[in-house]
Structures are given as C-alpha cells and as structure tokens.
Symmetry: C2
Subunit: 101 residues, 2 copies
C-alpha cells in the first residue's frame, strides 16, 4: 500500500477521534460526571475539588473534550458552565455501537 492523502474512512477517523478524547481517565471521569444527568452542568471549579490534578491541567482536559465536541462551555462570568453536547454525545454513542456491532 502506497501513501495516500486520506486513507482511513471518515468513520474510522471519527472513532479514533472520540476514542482519543476518552483515552485519559480524568476525561472519562468528567464525562461520567456530566452524563449522570444529561441536563447537568457544572463549573470547572466543581470538578477541580473532586480531581487530584491542578486546575490548569483540568482546564486542558476540558479543552480536549471541547475540541472533540463532547462538551460545550457556556460563559457565565466569572463562571463557565460546562455540559454535554448532546448531539455529539449521541453521535459518539452510535459510532461506538456500530463499531462494536
């Protein structure tokens, strides 16, 4: 197989991207935390008190999850309210379902 611009399917890329977002236990923790109730939202500080990592590190993990689309943050100064992005969460769910099917 010779090199190609875009080899993997859109679907394979998507599985990999969501999987990467979930590849760190802190991020799994965050998603567990937020998905316990899909309407639940929380502030970065809420989770900071529950996680054994620096606030800045938590912020980077939130950024990763946001980048993957799994969460969204609504600015509500001086807080930022985070919650699940239901569309992406659903897409991820379906993508993994069909992946394991």
């Amino acid at each position: 197989m010779t090199k190609k611009e875009k080899f993997y399917t859109e679907n394979q890329e998507r599985v990999a991207a969501y999987a990467k977002a979930l590849s760190h236990p802190a991020r799994v923790f965050i998603m567990n935390y937020l998905s316990s109730n899909l309407d639940k939202c929380c502030y970065s500080g809420d989770m900071a008190t529950e996680l054994p990592i620096a606030r800045s590190t938590l912020s980077e993990h939130l950024k990763e999850l946001k980048k993957a689309g799994l969460i969204q943050g609504e600015i509500n100064p001086p807080y930022i309210k985070y919650c699940i992005n239901k569309e992406s969460w659903d897409e991820a769910k379906h993508i993994f379902e069909s992946f394991f099917k």
Copy 2:
C-alpha cells in the same frame, strides 16, 4: 482534592485504556478488519498490504491492541495469525455501552 494512590475507578481506567487502544485510525482499521467476522483471522502481512504504513509500524499497532487485550496472536510459523479476543471485545462493548448509557 489531594493526590492519591489510585483515584479513578476501575471502570474509568478500563474505559480509558480501551479508548486509548482505539485512539489511532490504523488500530480502528485493524479492529474493523478483524471484527467483520468474529472468527476471521489474518496475518500481519495481509493488513500490511492494505495499510499505508511500514510493516514495523503495523507491528507496533498490533502490539498495542494485544496489550489492551483486544486481539490475540497465534504463532503459526512463519506466520502469526491474529484474531479478535472475543472476551475482551465483549467487555469493551459492554463497558462503552454502560459508559454512554
């Protein structure tokens, strides 16, 4: 939250570990390839002809998947026959199901 020996739950660690194994499109490709038929097996060389990566790189990806338990390799010289590890595959499936539930 102060530092702790083991903070995350067993389940969170497991989701993260499986997700990490699936966080590269080449590995997703491999799992797609093998899971198209759960009894399907294949040789490293079979996939090498279908993937745009060096054989040694493919070998490392296979090692990652083996480490995560998702596949197993049966030595059948000079070939090594790879196939899904059904137990782990099933566990991963269930773990993701309950994660997204």
